[in-house]
């Protein structure tokens, strides 16, 4: 078991690729993506997927080293400012196959 930072991201599905690129550039060791059924935030409610992905959110879960948090925040903040969404960072202990 190792101390890591647990990072959760909610982002519009159309903008998800940009977040994935940012995470890849940060070199996070893994990523888990789930569909969001509905949600709301500052930009009103998001509930979609029947006709197009235009109003759908995605949920991303990843981890980073405790020392990397500032870099992650610096990288993701501009994306959130432009496209909306949410990042939550918390402490966790990780078990991995290594």
């Amino acid at each position: 078991m190792r101390e890591v930072k647990r990072i959760e991201i909610v982002i519009d599905k159309p903008h998800e690729p940009k977040v994935r690129v940012a995470l890849a550039e940060l070199g996070v060791p893994g990523l888990t993506i789930m569909d969001v059924v509905a949600g709301y935030g500052d930009r009103g409610s998001r509930e979609g997927g029947a006709l197009s992905d235009a109003m759908m959110n995605r949920f991303l879960l990843t981890t980073c080293e405790p020392g990397q948090v500032e870099a992650v925040a610096a990288k993701l903040e501009p994306l959130l400012r432009r496209y909306g969404g949410l990042v939550l960072i918390s402490d966790a202990q990780m078990i991995r196959n290594a």
Binding site: D12, P14, H15, G49, L51, S52, D53, A54, M55, R82
Partner: protein, 339 residues
């Protein structure tokens, strides 16, 4: 009247009613996607097949040219009207949805013609495919021009740093053209049309039991869901105000009548004319929004989607289609008979 009370339209009402009565009737999202894929594939194959059988003549070229041009040009007019009340990005986005088309409205009109025993030409389907994307480019152009003007104004009073954002804009045009032209709905429609054209009579015979025979029944199920979805979106418009709701009806009518005018000028028969009118008058809530979320992230999707889906779509399938059809008859256009 009998044409108005067809099963598809009544299922649309049923969906709307279910939402208004707060029923928990629901169509799963993946089912809606399946129905949407089915309708695009069906109409594409049918249009391609009809083109293969009917050929592409001068009139076909003229109609497709006019259709494409309208998708480019109409957003500029709509934008000018919308700027009266809205910011540049929202105005540009709504203008783009109206310049483009609604495939579901189109297939509803096709089912209407079918019930009336009136035929139409394959190049109307081609026109629909051609009209999907140009409006997106126009919409983004409009927003960029407005942003450029705003930036220049700012610059005049301050100075500095414009080259970076110009660069920014340049990189995104590539993505924009990909998004506009390679949206899933466009690719499937165009691809199915090409396949229908290439495989002709023989291909059609092998797939028509799936894409043609059950078409109107499937449309019922899809319009049921459209009714559910449209009625849910109407609520979003309460905040948008009466101007926008009015625009959704009046502007659909204005563009629809321009379409009627174009059809008369081009000498189309009644079936083709109805479809051209409905292409002009309908607004996109699938392909264009998907592209705009990337191309105009600053525009509010809670305005442009509900308007096209909750106002213009119901108006067109309930009022627009029978009204344009009646008008075209009154104008003396003859209907060609047969499927």
């Amino acid at each position: 009247m009998e044409l108005l009370l067809s099963p598809p339209i009544l299922f649309f009402f049923l969906g709307g009613l279910a939402t208004l009565m707060k029923s928990d009737l629901e169509v799963p999202k993946s089912v809606a996607r399946l129905l949407s894929l089915y309708l695009l594939m069906s109409i594409g194959l049918y249009g391609g097949y009809k083109l293969a059988v009917g050929g592409i003549d001068g009139q076909a070229m003229a109609v497709m040219g006019v259709a494409t041009a309208s998708s480019f040009v109409l957003p500029f007019v709509a934008y000018a009207v919308l700027r009266w009340r809205l910011g540049a990005e929202d105005a540009a986005a709504i203008a783009a949805t109206f310049g483009s088309i609604s495939a579901v409205t189109f297939v509803t009109a096709v089912a209407f013609l079918d019930n009336a025993g009136v035929s139409y030409s394959g190049y109307l389907v081609a026109s629909m495919a051609l009209m999907e994307s140009p409006a997106i480019v126009s919409g983004v152009l409009l927003a960029r021009l407005a942003a450029g003007r705003a930036r220049r104004r700012e610059l005049e009073s301050s100075g500095g740093g414009a080259s970076a954002s110009a660069d920014d804009a340049r990189t995104e045009w590539g993505e924009l053209f990909r998004e506009a032209g390679l949206n899933g709905a466009v690719v499937l429609l165009v691809g199915a049309m090409v396949i229908g054209y290439v495989t002709g009579e023989r291909g059609w015979a092998s797939v028509s039991a799936f894409v043609y025979d059950p078409f109107k029944g499937v449309l019922c199920l899809f319009l049921l869901d459209m009714g559910l979805l449209a009625a849910r979106r109407v609520g979003d418009l309460r905040r948008a105000g009466v101007f926008l709701v009015g625009f959704g009806v009046v502007w659909a009518l204005v563009q629809g009548l321009i379409g009627v005018g174009a059809a008369v000028a081009l000498g189309l028969d009644r079936g083709d004319a109805l479809l051209l009118a409905i292409l002009f008058g309908s607004a996109s809530y699938i392909a264009v929004p998907a592209a705009l979320r990337l191309a105009l992230p600053g525009a509010n999707p809670s305005l442009y989607i509900p308007l096209a889906l909750g106002i213009t779509f119901p108006f067109n399938i309930v009022v627009g289609i029978p009204m344009y059809y009646a008008l075209l008859g009154w104008l003396g256009l003859e209907a060609s008979v047969g499927g």
